[in-house]
């Protein structure tokens, strides 16, 4: 008999014991170790993935920041450049304006100086001329000249036009007239003037005689708002006026070249 039933039984028991023992000492520890290792590897891989993702995220964030920084920097630089340009322009404009103002002021000053100089020169010349003329005429004034002047005054009185005569006559009627002369008039002359007045206005005219040295040489009749006279001073005044006008006219054309020279100097 090939089968020994006791051995079969014993082997079944042996086999079952072996199954239990190997489960206990072989399969479970080995499988646990494999599982642990697999878990560890999986964990490490997951960690690596997480780290990679994190790194990627950080890289992205860094790149983003860098880009933002670059943009900000570029914007700031652009702004600064613009501001610098604007500041430069402003300063240039200010400087130009200041230069213009200064130039204009200098020109103005030059012009006014020139004008005042020329005015001073002309007035001085005029004054000198007339002072000389006055002095000469004053020196020349004498009895015969006074006399002659009286005659001229009387003639002028008589040859007045009707309108002037009416105005003066009305004025003399209301108020007494004043006859001014550079020197005391002699009695004959005073009588001749009184007579001429009375005849001219056909009335008894009240007049008063006064001496006024500033008339230079001459006689004038003044009453309420009306005046009639003849004096060298009048001639001189009208002459002075005309000379003054002439000088003013001359100044105008000479002012332009003077301004040109001022600009040329400034440049």
């Amino acid at each position: 008999m090939l089968i020994d039933w006791f051995t079969v039984l014993a082997q079944v028991v042996n086999f079952l014991i072996l199954v239990w023992l190997l489960k206990r000492f072989l399969y479970r520890p080995i499988l646990d170790a494999i599982d642990a290792r697999e878990q560890r590897i999986a964990r490490e891989l997951a960690d690596a993935d997480a780290k990679k993702a994190e790194a990627q995220q950080e890289r992205d964030a860094f790149q983003h920041k860098n880009e933002a920084f670059e943009q900000q920097r570029a914007a700031l630089l652009c702004k600064a450049t613009d501001e610098a340009k604007a500041e430069r322009q402003r300063l240039l404009d200010e400087a130009r304006q200041a230069a213009d103002t200064l130039a204009a002021k200098r020109q103005e000053t030059l012009k006014s100086e020139q004008q005042s100089l020329s005015a001073a020169l002309s007035s001085r010349a005029r004054e000198e001329v007339f002072a000389i003329a006055r002095k000469a005429l004053g020196d020349l004034a004498g009895a015969s000249l006074e006399e002659r002047m009286g005659e001229v005054f009387v003639r002028r009185l008589r040859s007045m036009d009707a309108k002037a005569k009416a105005g003066l006559g009305a004025a003399l009627q209301s108020a007494p007239g004043i006859v001014r002369s550079a020197f005391d008039l002699p009695a004959e002359q005073r009588a001749a003037i009184q007579k001429a007045l009375n005849e001219t206005f056909s009335a008894d005219i009240h007049i008063r005689f006064e001496t006024a040295p500033d008339l230079v040489s001459g006689i004038e009749l003044a009453t309420d708002g009306h005046k009639l006279g003849w004096s060298i001073a009048d001639y001189l005044e009208s002459l002075e006026q005309r000379v003054g006008e002439l000088l003013t006219e001359q100044d105008k054309p000479t002012a332009q070249p003077a301004q040109d020279t001022a600009v040329a100097k400034q440049q």
Binding site: F6, N14, F15, L21, Y27
Partner: protein, 247 residues
């Protein structure tokens, strides 16, 4: 010369006895358990590990992979039983290189014991997985007429398991013993190498057939694709087993 190591009796007391089969089985058990204990005593859970641990990991994960490949959904659950079947048969063959050793699998008692274990384990796993009714209903498929044939098939495959392994192991030992008496040089070595190969193949066949039987018993509707795979796997070892059986 003994046909089976059962004949070599070291100690006997009435019904109880210790023969070579039991003694060598114990020796194998000792080697397996002590070896496992030694290696797994200081297991490394990191990436660095000892070569023995590496070897055991390869063996265990290969067995696990094979079970999964046949179509069992939770291979760890069956690893204890099926893995031990393979390791025991394989180690029994491997130790034939030790002089004076008689493989316990060369005894029909051992192979019958292993076949009985499979015979009992298959319905146990089947009932555990799909319930008693579900398991028993399998015998009535495809029709009730098939019930006796299914029962015969169940018994015959158990017998086939036992006899196939016994025949192969015994024949290997016998041929070696005969050759030793005829040509004591060279040939026994070649035959011994061949015997090792046969032993490994037998261990694999025994293991894979047991796995396929369990897979067939625990087959559920949910695991339909796995079942197809399992049927294929069953067909292959059978085809391989037939020529072996004829030896």
């Amino acid at each position: 010369m003994h046909l089976s190591p059962d004949g070599i009796i070291f100690w006997q007391s009435g019904f109880l006895k210790i023969n070579a089969t039991i003694a060598f089985t114990w020796a194998l058990m000792l080697v397996l358990v002590v070896g496992s204990k030694l290696v797994t005593r200081k297991l490394s859970r990191g990436l660095e590990r000892s070569r023995w641990q590496n070897l055991l990991e390869i063996v265990v994960s290969a067995i696990n992979g094979q079970i999964a490949e046949v179509g069992l959904r939770r291979p760890e659950k069956y690893l204890g039983f099926l893995g031990t079947l393979f390791l025991f048969v394989a180690m029994a063959s491997l130790f034939t290189i030790v002089p004076g050793y008689e493989p316990p699998t060369g005894s029909l008692s051992t192979t019958a014991a292993l076949a009985i274990c499979v015979f009992v384990a298959v319905p146990l796993f089947g009932i555990e997985d799909r319930g008693l009714g579900g398991y028993l209903r399998e015998y009535l498929k495809p029709t009730v007429i098939m019930l006796p044939f299914n029962i015969i098939s169940e018994l015959s495959r158990t017998l086939a398991l036992a006899v196939r392994l016994f025949g192969n192991m015994m024949s290997g030992t016998m041929i070696l013993a005969i050759l030793l008496t005829i040509t004591p040089f060279i040939f026994p070595i070649a035959l011994s190498a061949l015997g090792l190969l046969t032993g490994m193949v037998q261990a694999y066949i025994f293991f894979i057939l047991a796995t396929v039987y369990i897979a067939a018993a625990t087959r559920t509707r949910k695991a339909a694709p796995e079942a197809i795979h399992a049927v294929k796997a069953e067909a292959k070892p059978d085809a391989k087993a037939e020529p072996e059986h004829r030896q």
